[in-house]
């Protein structure tokens, strides 16, 4: 088994310590950092996403795999910065104002990172304007909002309205999700995308960036 494949396999098994060691070893052997990233870490995380979507593995397995990915990234990131590696895209994500639930949001962050995105986690109870301010600061492509309470869902609409008022609506793709959220609600508030789970969110985000780059 190649070293890169082993990184992917260990990541899928959630072996954070081993992933760290193997990524360092790959760097020491002067392997291309982009190859370590794409074929090792991101490939492993994509496989995790596919298996999660097929109900072969469950949320805890995704979490430990993501932790292993993050462990590998801490070793790799300085090298990636040195060579000027660009992420697939950038996203800000948070749970909306008044809502403290974060499991779904955390899963989406992991899957987005696994798809090659740079992600800014805004946490929970995030005000509508904060999503926009941070998106501006971070130079995001996508604003992702999560809600688990029916009473906090309207905050998603508030954020979209604030984007319009600030003349920034066309600058950002808005993606929404969460247990009480659905396609019909997304249409109603004119969000760009609703996704039912973290794996779909990452897939859609990736497609968005492919389309965006195709039109540049």
């Amino acid at each position: 088994m190649s070293l890169i494949q082993e990184i992917s396999d260990k990541l899928q098994g959630g072996k954070a310590k081993e992933v760290k060691i193997l990524v360092q070893q790959a760097l020491d052997e002067e392997r291309d950092p982009k190859e370590i990233l794409n074929e090792g870490l991101l490939n492993g995380m994509m496989a995790v996403g596919a298996r999660f979507k097929n109900n072969e593995i469950f949320v805890p397995e995704v979490l430990v795999a993501a932790r292993a990915m993050n462990a590998g990234l801490t070793i790799l990131e300085p090298k990636l910065t040195e060579i000027g590696n660009e992420p697939v895209g950038k996203a800000v994500i948070g749970t909306v104002q008044g809502d403290l639930h974060d499991i779904g949001k955390n899963l989406v962050i992991m899957m987005l990172k696994g798809a090659g995105f740079e992600v800014c986690d805004l946490g929970v109870d995030v005000e509508p304007d904060t999503f926009i301010d941070k998106a501006e600061e971070f130079e995001a492509d996508i604003i992702c909002m999560s809600a688990l309470l029916t009473t906090t869902m309207p905050k998603m609409k508030d954020c979209i309205e604030r984007l319009q008022e600030r003349d920034l609506r066309d600058k950002y793709i808005v993606m929404i999700g969460g247990a009480p959220v659905n396609e019909s609600f997304a249409k109603q508030i004119e969000a760009d995308y609703y996704t039912p789970d973290a794996a779909s969110a990452a897939e859609v985000a990736r497609k968005i960036m492919e389309e965006k780059k195709a039109h540049v």
């Binding site: 959630g14 469950f58 430990v64």
Partner: protein
């Protein structure tokens, strides 16, 4: 007053050709008594008034106590955020390592708001006598998750299982005492809400949830006091394991296909669910509610142990006309098939 034979009540429900709906209906009752959720969750008397008002308004098969999944964690010492119109939420982990897990004190029943919830059931049991009164309680894994952090616990199950087991043991010890207190207060049974376990793999639910739920069930279940299990997650891969609880009834959410659940669960236990509480009951129209209720009953009424219900606790702001639509659609369905 003589205790109701709940084993017989369950059997009667299963054999009945006409079945009253069993929605998990408690919080929307605030609209009938003119109080906020924030007031309700801190006052057992108001809760009993709320349950009584809901029971007078809707001819449900049972009266459910509030499903407030912050009460037990708060009793342990977790910080909680209150909102005027939303169920309280735990805001931070209480236990971060084994040392803190070992020092974690199991609270007395009555600590913080648990006393109010016991009071609510005592008063509700006196007020509501035409149907069973079921108390709501969090499940052990879901409680441990609130104490350890809901995301972190899943990682800890892999990396520090002994830490999770230490917290689970203390959580279960408290929950058994709490369930016994509900029984002594006059409840006809409890609903153990274990939604967080719906995220686990079959192996993990078998290690970190089911055995602890089973301990609670074994400690309190008797003919006059039944145990229902609620899990609104994607439980299809977990049913083999969930069956081992041997609960009297199971409440499932709209994440699953109810017919598939019914095919795979014991025929002598009540299976209730699974109208979408948010998308349909809270945010839908009465017409949508009727459609969904009728469609579900058409698919599932052939299973004698199926009773229509909501997929989870119905949100506080759910319009009364939507609840009315649910009840009327169920009544109408059974009336038609009787003819």
């Amino acid at each position: 007053m003589m205790k109701r034979n709940m084993t017989k009540w369950m059997q009667d429900k299963i054999t009945a050709s006409v079945k009253e709906a069993m929605p998990i209906l408690s919080f929307p009752g605030i609209q009938l008594i003119g109080h906020t959720v924030e007031e309700l969750v801190q006052d057992g008397h108001l809760q009993a008034m709320c349950m009584d008002a809901a029971a007078k308004h809707f001819q449900t098969a049972e009266a459910f106590g509030l499903m407030d999944l912050s009460v037990e964690a708060e009793a342990f010492g977790s910080p909680v955020k209150y909102s005027e119109n939303e169920v309280p939420t735990v805001t931070a982990a209480l236990v971060h390592d084994m040392r803190e897990a070992e020092m974690l004190k199991v609270p007395e029943v009555g600590a913080k708001r648990t006393g109010q919830y016991i009071r609510a059931i005592k008063e509700a049991s006196d007020l509501i006598t035409d149907r069973p009164v079921l108390a709501g309680m969090i499940g052990p894994y879901s409680l441990a998750g609130r104490l350890l952090d809901m995301t972190e616990i899943m990682i800890l199950c892999y990396e520090e299982p002994e830490l999770v087991e230490k917290v689970l043991t203390k959580a279960t010890e408290f929950l058994i005492s709490y369930a016994r207190a509900f029984k002594a207060a006059g409840a006809d049974g409890i609903v153990i809400a274990e939604p967080a376990a719906g995220l686990l793999s079959p192996a993990m639910i078998g290690e970190f949830s089911t055995p602890y739920v089973r301990k609670i069930r074994d400690a309190v279940r008797e003919d006059s006091f039944i145990v229902l299990y609620h899990n609104c997650g994607n439980v299809i891969p977990l049913l083999d394991n969930i069956r081992e609880i041997e609960a009297d009834g199971y409440s499932f959410g709209n994440a699953v296909d109810m017919e598939e659940v019914l095919r795979n669960m014991p025929k002598d236990s009540l299976i209730i669910g699974n109208i979408d509480p948010a998308g349909v009951l809270r945010n839908g129209t009465p017409e949508l509610v009727r459609e969904e209720v009728t469609a579900l009953l058409q698919r599932c009424h052939g299973y004698p142990n199926f009773v229509i219900s909501s997929g989870c606790d119905i949100p506080p702001g759910t319009p009364m006309q939507n609840m009315q639509a649910l009840m009327e659609a169920a009544e109408e369905f059974y009336r038609k098939i009787e003819c």
